[in-house]
């Protein structure tokens, strides 16, 4: 038999089998039994064998294209990450997120220090040059404070708590994601964002102090502020770590180093999202409500901050060892 006849005979014999494989590849991928999964892997190997044969016998054939396509489809159905089930989520929150936070710890402390220094700088700036408040506050905010009223006073008359919460946590999530993403500019974006937040906080505290409203502002931010500011620092730290990965890639290429660092950092952001949602709820329901006294707000604020530490440490999911 010559080569053409061999190829024809092989093609005739294999085509019905390939059609059967195509039909099988359309079966649902979820809920496969171990036997079915093993069968799929065997099929993948068989397709690879046939593809190698087709490349030799029929290099320009339509069959080769079909087998390549089938091979890729099967490859994509086998090379699949583990499903996001309870066990995977447990592993994420118990082991992976705490490990990622631990990696970032020095950076988080630097970001907290940066925010504190920026806040002091903002305080000093407005105490020394009060006119500069227009850089940190809108004309309406300035006008309200100058008339002895905080801009947050009537907030519940305008917007219900539920809507306010949604708006606040959406905004906080976007700010945190932005603090992370702008780290791609060699970390400078994240540093800038954290510093600006600190500067604005210090400036507003100094400005309200000049008009005797600093106590009211402190009362407003005491319930949600500790966690919200901490998360901005955490997101900023995650962003700065991206910049660090680009500046000092070590033995990896810059692209691989950036990807590796992003993979760790995104876990921290996943943990921050639910914390910010609760923060939004506190800011929508407790912070603007004048019936809550300062003591209650402080207790809520610091308890929630401690809860955040426990949540990020993963200890709440670890069984105590005997």
């Amino acid at each position: 038999m010559n080569a053409v006849a061999t190829a024809s005979a092989w093609l005739k014999a294999r085509t019905p089998i390939w059609n059967a494989w195509i039909a099988q590849s359309r079966e649902p991928q979820r809920g496969l039994s171990i036997v079915d999964a093993q069968r799929r892997i065997d099929r993948y190997r068989a397709i690879a064998r046939d593809l190698a044969t087709a490349r030799t016998l029929l290099p320009q054939s339509r069959a080769r294209g079909a087998l390549e396509s089938l091979y890729l489809e099967t490859h994509a159905s086998i090379d699949v990450p583990s499903r996001l089930n309870t066990a995977r989520l447990r592993q994420l929150f118990r082991d992976e997120i705490p490990a990622a936070v631990a990696r970032l710890r020095p950076m988080i402390l630097w970001m907290a220090l940066l925010m504190a220094i920026s806040a002091l700088a903002g305080w000093w700036m407005i105490s020394t040059f009060p006119d500069l408040i227009s850089l940190s506050a809108s004309p309406k905010m300035i006008n309200d404070v100058e008339h002895g009223k905080l801009w947050t006073d009537d907030i519940l008359n305008i917007t219900p708590s539920s809507l306010l919460s949604v708006r606040i946590f959406s905004n906080n999530i976007v700010v945190s994601l932005m603090a992370f993403c702008v780290g791609v500019f060699f970390g400078l974006g994240s540093i800038y964002l954290v510093a600006v937040n600190g500067l604005m906080l210090g400036a507003l505290l100094a400005f309200t102090r000049q008009h005797g409203l600093d106590g009211e502002l402190f009362k407003f931010i005491s319930a949600h502020g500790p966690v919200e500011l901490s998360i901005i620092c955490i997101a900023g730290a995650a962003g700065t770590s991206l910049g660090n990965a680009l500046i000092r890639p070590g033995s990896l290429t810059r692209r691989d180093s950036f990807r590796e660092e992003s993979r760790h950092a995104v876990r921290v952001l996943i943990a921050c999202a639910p914390l910010l949602i609760v923060c939004g709820l506190i800011e929508g329901f407790i912070s603007p409500d004048p019936t809550f006294p300062l003591v209650t707000r402080l207790i809520v604020g610091w308890l929630y901050w401690l809860l955040m530490l426990v949540f990020l440490s993963g200890k709440w999911l670890r069984r105590p060892t005997a």
Binding site: A7, S77, V184
Partner: protein, 245 residues
Amino acid sequence: MSATHDDQLLITGLTGVGIELEIAGAGSRSYAFIIDWHIRVLLAIACYVAGWEIYSHIGSRGGSRFVQFTAIPGLVVYFLYHPVLEVALRGRTPGKRSAGVRIVTAQGGTPSVGALLLRNIFRLIDSMPLFYVVGLVCCLVTERRVRIGDMAAGTLLVVEKVSAARALNSLGELISHSGLPPEAAELIDDLLQRWHGLDITARDTLARTILARVDRSGSGTGPTEMNDSALRERLQALLSGMRAQ
């Protein structure tokens, strides 16, 4: 293992048999994005209108509750369109499907949920300052034609191969009926499928060349003397296994 060469991603499958994937360029990406953008805008408007209708039955217009019913669902649909669909459809969206591209890992596999979320988070940067300028510039200058989100997530967009089913369709019949060598049968089939789209001189030249090589019947009129319709009939006859008498 994977490598990139001339817009091709070379991956070695788990069996060691390598395969090339064509990396999607800025054009395919933009096309997919524009389709998806239209879909999500329409969905967001539909949500807005539905919310408007529902609210107009239960309350007066204006005020914060109105925003809750109308703007929020629309915005949620608009902003979560990409992450939700990419996770649910394993790296595909309707726009990507119509552009014939999909998201894969550098090894050609299906990306994880974390990777898909990460590439979407970076849309904040890629869309800067407007109209995805940062993302587009990145696509144009990077080796794998990726935007920053893809770099962070370790993903890339590849052109989907023609469906295996479509490629194999009728191949078995062609081979078994015609008795021709497989590549010749496919060539004739391709030519016949494109017959009416080809210039008459070009298709006749092609048909004569093919017939001169594969038609061994040795009887009847020679290909050089056949007209356009006779050439087509002869090719069809060859494919169906009949010999011209």
